[in-house]
């Protein structure tokens, strides 16, 4: 089996952070905060978060905050809940969540209604779509199962049925796809895998083959991980590949929480600091 080229991946992520002038990077500037979350969490899992300037990152994130309290994907853009999540996650990595005006907490959200909505997105195959009646999709399933886990409502999930649907995502090469008949993609190593872990059915797939698939998706020369072997790499897939390996207990990686998608020590730090 190949090896994880950790140093190369660290170098790759740092280089992406610096290179902002390609067209691809320019037209994705509205979601830079997501990119920050992917890149920085990967660095933390690899034990190299200190490779970036914490001050720089945090001051930029705070500039993305809107007067409503929400965060935009980049400076000057409209706020959105997706980027707000990434902002909170990145601040958590640096143990700086307390600089936020923590006015919005779980008790301010109607958790029961939220759970009700999620359950209404459940399909007959045990999976979840993005809206009621939507096709089951591994990414949506992760969001729903993760949310139910956080809300303490996993009893709404038919674990056997969903586990069956999820384990059928593993194809011959060992990789996982997101829906029937689709090609395997490294990012599903996260979404399918973390879902399986949350419902205690991860033994229904072949973990060794999945590890091999993820390692095959690395660019061993330039660093970074791609969606499938021999394709171009990007930060998004680099993060999900490394996170997937962490869930599979690959040696040398920090353990990651399957529901919060943050290193376990970061999540524990937040919970233990609550009074």
């Amino acid at each position: 089996m190949g090896e994880l080229a950790a140093d190369k991946h660290v170098k790759y992520i740092i280089s992406v952070e610096k290179k902002k002038d390609s067209f691809e990077s320019v037209v994705m500037e509205h979601l830079r905060l997501n990119g920050a979350y992917w890149g920085l969490t990967t660095l933390d899992i690899l034990g190299k978060l200190d490779a970036v300037d914490e001050e720089d990152v945090i001051s930029w994130i705070l500039k993305c905050q809107d007067e409503s309290g929400g965060f935009a994907g980049n400076i000057g853009h409209d706020p959105h809940v997706l980027y707000t999540l990434s902002a909170v996650q990145v601040l958590a990595l640096f143990d700086k969540v307390d600089i936020l005006d923590a006015d919005k907490r779980l008790d301010k959200i109607n958790v029961d209604k939220a759970v009700e909505y999620i359950v209404s997105c459940k399909n007959l195959d045990g999976g979840f779509g993005c809206t009621p009646g939507g096709e089951s999709h591994a990414g949506q399933i992760f969001c729903c199962v993760g949310a139910l886990a956080i809300a303490g409502a996993l009893h709404h999930v038919d674990k056997d049925l969903l586990g069956w649907w999820l384990c059928e995502r593993q194809v011959k090469s060992g990789g996982l796809n997101g829906r029937p008949e689709k090609l395997p993609d490294v990012c599903y190593s996260w979404w399918v895998l973390s879902s399986l872990i949350m419902i205690d059915r991860v033994h229904w797939i072949n973990k060794d083959k999945l590890v091999k698939f993820i390692l095959d998706c690395q660019d061993m020369e330039n660093g970074g991980i791609s969606d499938r072997p021999d394709d171009a790499v990007d930060v998004f897939h680099t993060y999900f590949g490394v996170a997937g390996l962490s869930l599979l207990e690959y040696p040398g990686l920090k353990p990651i929480d399957p529901a919060y998608a943050l290193p376990v020590d970061v999540v524990n730090r937040i919970f233990f600091s609550k009074k």
């Binding site: 000057g76 009646g133 939507g134 008949e181």
Partner: protein, 425 residues
């Protein structure tokens, strides 16, 4: 990419932006946008010839190309034009939103027009620039006139022509349709057109989740007639795309919607409704079977069958019981679960015997799918079904499980669980 893109001055970039916006203004019927490498421009320019039209005026430009309402933009200028568009948009939006600038109606309109012009150019270059979509929603919601709303549909269709997975574009369409829904007379026609648009986009963007999700969303606006019509109309397309799980999910959505309607019908027509509904399900099963035999080893077809037989057995059988007791005359269909199961087991058996051709991946896949389908049936059959059925299922399960563990060992734990060797927490 050449370094020329970095050497555009601000003035040059603004000029390019002005050119783009002028083109968009002069030809409101542009329905497709593409990005062309500069080296291909020379070839395309030659094809234009001596026309006296918009094309002529654009002919001189080395950055834009237009023909038959198709717009081509040189990849070389993308970054400078994007930056200019973004700058112009943000500045216009800031002015529009500044209180005190709403002093006179004409001034308000001018600022709004600026925002609309610049956001349009920006969205052609960066289709998921949410702030730009948001600003258009803000301005349009102050007007709410049908032609303006249709313009928004046109713009998002233009964006989808080169970026069919843009969630912002699809979501904008739903926002517009919700606005239009208050004017009922055009709604049904719009829903039909939307459904056709999705099918067109799905043709070249296979299993496009967002496109199909949009189509599923439309179903809640459909009348029962439209639902049945959609089932009929989309059948041919589905038959030609048997590996597209999304299109079969759409059919399931339609069938469930039709069933919902039945559940709420309590009048004397209910038995007729039921018969029709049952026939639809039966036809779907028969059609699915013909596809399964024709297109060997297609996962999407088998998954569709899981849904169909499960629903028929679990839900419609109970409905039949309820309806036949009430209706006069009695419902003329007879759901015989026994013969249904016999039929399914026959089908599974016929697919399994092709294991002899295990050298061919498709036949092996067919055997695996049919075996998994059989295990699915054993799990889905409610306990109150007759002993005969339970025994028939149990008889076949041993062989099937052995075969599955051999040809699909990655899922051994699942197979063991399904036949009850282990229990799960």
């Amino acid at each position: 990419m050449s370094t020329r893109e970095n050497s555009y001055t601000e003035a040059e970039a603004l000029n390019l932006l002005a050119q783009l916006e002028r083109i968009l203004d002069l030809d409101p019927l542009i329905d497709e946008v593409g990005f062309i490498h500069p080296s291909q421009f020379a070839t395309l320019k030659e094809e234009i010839g001596d026309s006296l039209s918009l094309e002529d005026r654009v002919h001189e430009s080395t950055s834009f190309w237009i023909r038959d309402h198709k717009l081509g933009i040189s990849t070389q200028i993308l970054i400078p034009v994007y930056k200019a568009a973004k700058h112009a948009f943000i500045s216009a939006l800031r002015q529009y939103k500044t209180p005190g600038n709403f002093s006179g109606k004409s001034q308000d309109d001018t600022l709004a027009i600026e925002v609309m012009i610049h956001s349009k150019a920006l969205l052609l270059l960066s289709c998921d620039f949410a702030t730009a979509w948001n600003s258009r929603k803000l301005i349009v919601s102050n007007k709410r006139l049908l032609p303006i709303l249709m313009d928004e549909l046109h713009l998002s269709a233009l964006v989808l022509s080169y970026s069919p997975k843009s969630e912002q574009a699809w979501s904008h369409r739903r926002w517009v349709i919700n606005m239009i829904a208050r004017n009922c007379s055009t709604l049904q026609w719009i829903i039909e057109r939307e459904s056709e648009l999705v099918e067109k986009i799905a043709e070249r963007s296979k299993m496009n989740y967002r496109a199909w999700n949009h189509r599923c969303w439309l179903v809640s606006f459909m009348t029962r007639e439209q639902v049945l019509d959609e089932l009929k109309k989309s059948r041919n397309w589905s038959g030609l795309h048997v590996a597209d799980n999304s299109c079969f999910h759409y059919r399931r959505r339609l069938m469930l919607r039709n069933l919902e309607g039945f559940c709420y019908t309590q009048d004397n027509n209910s038995s007729g409704y039921f018969v029709e509904t049952y026939q639809i399900w039966k036809e779907e099963l028969d059609w699915n079977e013909s596809l399964i035999k024709q297109y060997v080893g297609r996962e999407a077809l088998w998954l569709h069958r899981r849904f169909l037989s499960m629903y028929l057995i679990k839900h419609m059988a109970t409905h039949l019981l309820a309806v036949s007791c009430q209706s006069k005359p009695k419902a003329s269909v007879d759901i015989d679960i026994d013969s249904l199961m016999d039929h399914e087991l026959c089908l599974v058996h016929s697919c399994s015997t092709t294991i002899a051709d295990a050298n061919f991946e498709d036949f092996q896949a067919q055997a695996i799918h049919s075996a998994a389908y059989m295990l699915w049936l054993t799990k889905q059959i409610p306990e109150y079904q007759g002993i005969d059925i339970q025994e028939k299922l149990r008889a076949g399960v041993g062989d099937v499980t052995r075969m599955l563990k051999r040809s699909c060992p990655d899922r051994s734990s699942l197979w063991d669980y399904l036949v009850g060797y282990h229990s799960e927490p």
